[in-house]
């Protein structure tokens, strides 16, 4: 009798962990964001985005015309789950949706920040493929 209770607990725990692992492995995008991603796919003419390419894009350091070396991680830090800092010292909440569930939920905001921040890092707007890979990387965390 005693062991049966233990067994039930173990089974429940196992089911819970499997479920958590399945749902926690990637952050699911909401319908509005999926539409945005589909749009990126269409304009980039790719079947799927690469989280690995997104990871490289995130930490790649590029020479800026100001003489500085700039990267997404300059402000967001190398760890997307950590808090970042703007050039003037204001705290940036984590960019990873696993650490901050407000991230990548509003296509308008996502587009606005890509526009602004791509110009800061790359001195140009990002391509649809770059944006798709970036989001694919973030949601894979």
């Amino acid at each position: 009798m005693k062991y049966r209770v233990h067994a039930i607990i173990v089974i429940f725990a196992a089911v819970f962990f499997v479920f958590a692992a399945l749902s926690g492995a990637a952050t699911a995008l909401n319908p509005a964001m999926r539409t945005l991603m589909d749009g990126y796919k269409k304009s980039a003419k790719v079947a799927a985005f690469s989280p690995d390419a997104g990871r490289r894009f995130f930490s790649e350091k590029r020479a800026h015309s100001s003489g500085e070396s700039r990267s997404c991680s300059t402000c967001h830090t190398e760890n997307p789950a950590a808090k970042g800092k703007t050039p003037v010292g204001k705290v940036i909440e984590p960019i990873s949706p696993a650490a901050n569930n407000k991230r990548f939920t509003d296509p308008k905001k996502v587009e606005k920040w890509f526009r602004r921040n791509c110009k800061w890092v790359l001195e140009r707007e990002c391509t649809a493929e770059e944006k798709g890979n970036y989001i694919a990387f973030m949601t894979s965390l």
């Binding site: 100001s66 800092k85 703007t86 003037v88 010292g89 204001k90 602004r116 110009k119 800061w120």
Partner: protein, 210 residues
């Protein structure tokens, strides 16, 4: 009989108990009440500007501060466009920190201190209208705004750190403090002005981080 019991008996004497309570009350009134006007000050009624002496400069030392009511800038709503667009990147500077002419100049620049804002025209207008309506010249009932305007004369700086009154107020602080990791730059007001985000720049609430 141990010390605790002795103490307890001493206290339980009715006369002494009344005496102790009245002393606590007197202490409360004499110390805590006047102090709270400088420290917390939230729940307390504040006098209008008329009740204050005019023309006195801040930073004349403690005696100069005596009797002066706590000043603060009107808080900016968190949901406002100004807060959303500008406050994401930097300390949300109160419109009362610069005159209207400075805000107009700043918002017409395409280069925002090395950044491109890329604001939608409608948002740009909304932000500028808010800044103009609450600028230092429109907010002269506020002591700080009034001093900022007076110190400027004909100058229209686009940097708050170039306002003579403000540079003077920060003149005695060692330059290397502003370069600390915890501060970053002179434009990160909130690093030291712990209550700055709420519009309170009182010297008493300044704490310089390590």
């Amino acid at each position: 009989m141990d010390a605790f019991q002795t103490e307890w008996r001493f206290l339980m004497n009715k006369k002494r108990l009344i005496y102790a309570f009245s002393m606590m009350f007197v202490l409360l009134v004499a110390v805590v009440f006047p102090l709270s006007r400088y420290v917390g000050a939230e729940g307390w009624e504040r006098e209008g500007y008329e009740g204050r002496e005019h023309g006195r400069e801040m930073g004349e030392g403690r005696e100069g501060r005596e009797g002066r009511e706590n000043e603060r800038f009107n808080p900016v709503s968190k949901d406002s466009v100004y807060s959303q667009e500008c406050g994401s990147c930097h300390f949300l500077y109160f419109p009362g920190l610069l005159p209207e002419s400075s805000w107009v100049k700043l918002m017409s620049q395409t280069d925002h201190f090395g950044e491109e804002l890329g604001l939608e025209p409608a948002l740009q207008t909304e932000i500028l209208d808010y800044l103009k309506a609450n600028s230092a010249d429109k907010n002269r009932s506020n002591e700080w705004s009034s001093k900022i305007v007076r110190s400027l004369g004909v100058l229209t700086p686009v940097r708050i750190t170039e306002v003579p009154y403000i540079t003077r107020k920060h003149g005695k602080i060692r330059r290397d403090i502003f370069e600390r990791e915890s501060v970053g730059t002179l434009s990160n007001c909130g690093a030291c002005h712990k209550t700055g985000a709420q519009g309170d720049f009182e010297e008493d609430n300044v704490k310089i981080p390590r």
